[in-house]
């Protein structure tokens, strides 16, 4: 178990850096799930849990810089526990979420603690020490890596047995209840996106997408491409309308003179 826990911690460390630097998004649950599954010898469950957690986190993105519940720790710990305790993918959400919220808080503290480093950088800039500033950035990434490594390692190495016992002892209605809650959870992420984006101009498009799946049973990609077509029509129409509007304004000015 030690080697598996270390490998998962290594993966979490790299993914934790990717969350802020790199941004290839291999830190999303849909990728981390099967990778953790690979380490623990159950890729299939990893895929199912990863897919489930991906939906929960779909809307939880750092909009305008605000930190959402941590997606890396959620994905890693949720998947690992689901495989180790043989729980349902939806129950994994119940395990993943508390950890991810705690880590979200830690990240905020980390970013506050890093502020004084900027004054060190100021001093380096004054001396023209560009090497030092590069090192500060490497140092920042190294701290992130270590932080995620530890936060993923401890609960998986020490907590897996305890979690297994808890899952076994929990009454069925609790597990089912967590499952139901897991099914509803994606709504929170979607609502978060809607809160940022939705205004009366866009309600029509929301309805269009909803109807496309509910009644027409279209796949997501088909709906996305249809929406892209509408957006392009709109974009080029407004481009065509603008020169005329500008011309009209010029005429008005001339009339004024």
């Amino acid at each position: 178990m030690l080697i598996e826990a270390l490998l998962i911690a290594l993966l979490a460390g790299l993914a934790g850096v990717d969350l802020f630097d790199g941004l290839t998004h291999f830190h999303r649950p849909v990728v981390l799930g099967p990778l953790v599954g690979l380490i623990l010898g159950d890729v299939h469950t990893g895929l199912l849990v990863g897919g489930t957690l991906e939906l929960v986190w779909m809307g939880m993105v750092p909009l305008a810089g605000a930190q959402p519940p941590n997606v890396v720790i959620g994905g890693v710990i949720g998947t690992a526990f689901a495989i180790l305790t043989k729980a349902e993918p939806t129950v994994a959400i119940g395990v993943a979420v508390p950890f991810s919220i705690a880590v979200q808080g830690c990240i905020t503290i980390l970013f506050t603690a890093f502020s004084p480093m900027m004054h060190k950088c100021d001093a380096m800039a004054k001396k023209g020490n560009w090497r030092g500033i590069e090192l500060v950035n490497y140092f920042g990434m190294a701290i992130l890596f270590c932080f995620y490594f530890i936060v993923a390692f401890l609960p998986i190495y020490f907590g897996a047995d305890a979690a297994g016992a808890v899952v076994k002892a929990a009454p069925q209605w609790v597990l089912d209840g967590l499952g139901v809650a897991g099914g509803m959870m994606p709504a929170i992420g979607f609502a978060l996106l809607m809160k940022i984006m939705l205004n009366k101009n866009y309600v029509a498009y929301f309805i269009l997408g909803f109807v496309g799946v509910t009644y027409l049973k279209l796949p997501i990609l088909a709906i996305a491409l249809g929406a892209l077509a509408i957006a392009m029509i709109d974009f080029f129409n407004s481009n065509r309308a603008q020169p005329q509007a500008a011309a009209a304004r010029n005429v008005e000015v001339e009339d004024g003179i």
């Binding site: 941004l23 998004h25 990728v31 895929l47 199912l48 939906l55 119940g94 950088c121 809650a181 979607f190």
Partner: protein
């Protein structure tokens, strides 16, 4: 939010950012000593900058946001441009001022800034451009990546993964990064080549691009709500002898996915009232447990 803001709100934000930048400034002089434009940067220099931009948030902190990583992105090019040591120091100081730009389309700004550094513009001019573009770039980045492209790629990837297919993660990574790296490198070169002329193009098209992205994003979110929010009830209605299942007999006849839509709208409404996502997650778990215990879910 950012990209739906009025002109006045945007201007107020830009003013606040300028204050934040100046508050963290330690620049001593406004113009470079050596004012002869440096040799143009090569494609390789720009590519190097784009690679380095991946570390934009390496030393992220709440005082200067991405200042450290932003300077890290520019260092090799700045060293090539400023042969005068004092100029280099001054330029580095300015780039350590507060900056908060979107991690995906940042290279547009870094390309543009390098073009200005190369022609030895005044420091206050370069700062003004940085401050002016933070807002619009943030709005476009949010609209394109967080609100549109990630949900689309993740929706497709998760759907495949839930069927147990390894193509889920692979398709997700390829799709997402094709646009991500295409834009990152494309914008770096575009920003550098277009120079100051690019500012007007960006200012004029910010609203239009965000609007187009919002159309796609909102449609996809409507589709995702219908596809992936799961909520149904096992309740039955007793009408004399006959039993009717509430879900299949009544709700689905009214409209399929009625409960998921209703729940999403309730969450949306609560969020507008100021409920945090964490609180809503807690309430959802509670609702699931109570619902299962009482038997209405």
């Amino acid at each position: 939010m950012a990209f739906n803001d009025s002109e006045a709100a945007l201007a107020a934000k830009a003013e606040k950012r300028m204050e934040q930048a100046l508050a963290t400034s330690s620049v001593e002089r406004d113009d470079y000593i050596d004012t002869i434009p440096a040799e143009p940067l090569t494609k390789k220099d720009i590519n190097r900058m784009a690679w380095r931009s991946l570390a934009l948030q390496a030393s992220f902190n709440y005082e200067r946001m991405q200042a450290g990583g932003w300077l890290y992105t520019l260092i090799p090019a700045l060293r090539k441009i400023h042969k005068n040591d004092e100029d280099l120091r001054n330029s580095m100081k300015m780039h350590l001022e507060f900056i908060n730009v979107h991690p995906f389309d940042v290279t547009f700004l870094s390309g543009l800034v390098l073009a200005m550094e190369q022609s030895k513009e005044k420091i206050s001019t370069i700062r003004a451009v940085k401050v002016a573009l933070m807002g619009p770039l943030g709005g476009i980045g949010d609209a394109m990546f967080w609100l549109t492209w990630l949900p689309i790629c993740a929706g497709i990837g998760a759907a495949l993964a839930l069927e147990g297919s390894m193509f889920g993660p692979i398709v997700f990574l390829l799709l997402f990064n094709a646009l991500h790296f295409g834009l990152r490198f494309g914008l770096a070169h575009y920003g550098y080549r277009a120079g100051l002329g690019a500012i007007n193009v960006l200012k004029n098209s910010t609203k239009k691009i965000s609007h187009a992205a919002s159309i796609v994003g909102m449609t996809v979110i409507g589709a995702l709500v219908a596809s992936y929010v799961r909520l149904s009830t096992p309740l039955e209605i007793h009408a004399g002898e006959a039993k009717i299942a509430l879900q299949s007999g009544v709700l689905d006849k009214l409209m399929p996915n009625l409960l998921p839509l209703g729940f999403t709208l309730v969450v949306y409404w609560l969020m507008k009232k100021g409920y945090s996502p964490v609180k809503l997650i807690g309430l959802t778990v509670l609702l699931g447990l109570v619902g299962k215990f009482m038997g209405f879910l």
